[in-house]
């Protein structure tokens, strides 16, 4: 079966002053998969996401998101991508309802639709009972979940989750990852997930891309990468082994 390409970059490059943050990046993401975006700090993951989203202009190279060029039509792209930034902030004196309503209004949703989606999103991240509290009274985990809810309100075709498990306890991390998996399966959402938790990523990602120093050194399904790097027929492997192998080579 031919998979539909959702995101495609060609020779995507971003240079800050003299530093190359993203170096001739070429990769594809297919429909309704979870693509794990891995790599050490400063590899250029966030920069790549920003370029795909049209928030940062690429120095050279092209991006296509569902046949739309984010440089030329950023609004169109932003309509079907939900983005959870790595250090997301909130308007602290709003509560969850107000915050989600604001997102819905920015997306031009009619009132009725918005209310339904907001209830759905809150139920999905299990926040209904805390939704009347002001955000300044939220714990880290609650904020993270509210962030996911804000993505869900848009009902996006694609979700960019930049380290959604940052600062969560192990149990909350598990639940967050479970939720992401569920969403991708139930809503057929394509998820681009950047994370440093390889063990978790291994469980839920369909394919991964490993980025080091701005270059994508590997991309593909995990068993395929394992075969390449760890030798044919290795029954048990961990993503960590693969990752470290690439990391040492680089």
């Amino acid at each position: 079966m031919e998979l539909k390409t959702v995101i495609e970059t060609k020779e995507l490059t971003k240079i800050y002053n003299t530093q190359i943050a993203v170096d001739r990046l070429t990769f594809k993401v297919y429909e309704s998969e979870i693509f794990g975006f891995l790599g050490p700090n400063g590899a250029g993951k966030t920069t790549t996401l920003l370029m795909i989203l049209g928030l940062t202009e690429p120095t050279t190279g092209t991006v296509q998101v569902l046949d739309v060029n984010p440089v030329r039509e950023p609004l169109k792209v932003k309509r079907f991508i939900g983005y959870l930034p790595e250090n997301m902030g909130f308007y602290r004196d709003l509560n969850a309802w107000e915050s989600l309503r604001f997102v819905a209004e920015l997306n031009g949703l009619p009132r009725q639709v918005a209310e339904e989606r907001i209830v759905d999103a809150l139920r999905c991240v299990d926040m209904l009972k805390d939704a009347n509290k002001k955000i300044e009274a939220y714990s880290r985990g609650m904020r993270q979940r509210l962030g996911i809810a804000e993505v869900l309100v848009k009902n996006p075709k694609i979700a960019f989750l930049d380290e959604p498990t940052l600062g969560l306890d192990p149990d909350a991390t598990n639940r967050m990852m479970g939720l992401i998996k569920e969403l991708s399966k139930e809503k057929h959402m394509t998820v681009l997930l950047s994370s440093h938790l390889l063990h978790q990523a291994q469980k839920i990602c369909d394919r991964v891309g490993i980025m080091i120093n701005g270059r994508m050194v590997a991309q593909g399904a995990m068993d395929q990468l394992a075969e390449e790097k760890l030798g044919v027929g290795k029954e048990t492997y961990t993503l960590e082994e693969i990752y470290m192998k690439y990391f040492q080579e680089a």
Binding site: L53, L55, K78, Y83, G89, Y91, F102, N107
Partner: protein
Amino acid sequence: MQGIKPIYKKELSDHFSSYRFLILFALIAMVSMITAYMVGMSISKELKDIAKPKFVFLMLFTSSGAWFSLVQFVAFFGPLIGLILGFDTINRERNEGTLSKLLSQPIYRDAVINAKFLAGLTVVAIMMASIVLLISALGLIMIGVIPGQEECVRIFIYLIVSIMYLAFWLEVAILFSILFRSVATSALAGLAMWIFFSFFISLGASAIANSLTVDANDNNSDALVLRTKIETTINLLSPMELYTDSTTIIINPMRKTTRTLVQMGMMEQLSMSRFSGPLPLSQSILVVMPYFIFLIAITVVFFAFSYVAFMRQEIRSL
């Protein structure tokens, strides 16, 4: 344009629920009451036994009573209101990480600054309108004179010009909040700008004019006129000067020109005063129009600066 309305609504409700707004409002209410009281007292004393001159009501705004008139107050401290309302609009959102989230929604980037400017403008308009209404009401009670139709029109024009003046400073503040990451820096930059435009330019203007026309003295009237010309031209760069010039003419019909005449002898003064009736409204508007347009023009220039700066800026979370 998509995005303006929700952001405008949110900004406005933020303003109204902030302590900053409450304190500013309290401050303004106090000032209006003080001015109205001061001026009201002195006017009713002065007018005790004489026939009421035309435009008594306008004197509420121009006559300086014990310390200052409203027009002077707004010219001097109005900029601070604009600056306070705008100095942290963009950089606060940037520092709190809400800006990248906001801009990842399907809205035009300039919708953010447009909406924020409009919200600030609304607040400024409400504040100025309430000052003027408050003073009028108090004045009505204290001096017991009802404003004529022309006076109402003049007060209305004064209100519009004042709102534009504050809007200019609001725009300056927004520009600095885009340019500087740190809230304290942008506040300081706004303050520096205020001092520069309000005081430094007018001081500098006379210094420059004096040094350019060293040979000016009582016997060299050409040079004296030139000196004044240079000075007024440089002064036109100062919003405070523009504002004071235009508002005094609108609200003080006895003044006919924004310029001060040079070299007035005794006889000249006498003959001048014989013809000093009030300037008709249409003429006042004509005199003021260029100033008003210039005020709008410099606001637009600053708006363009902030637009360009904001569109080119890298948006990252932290």
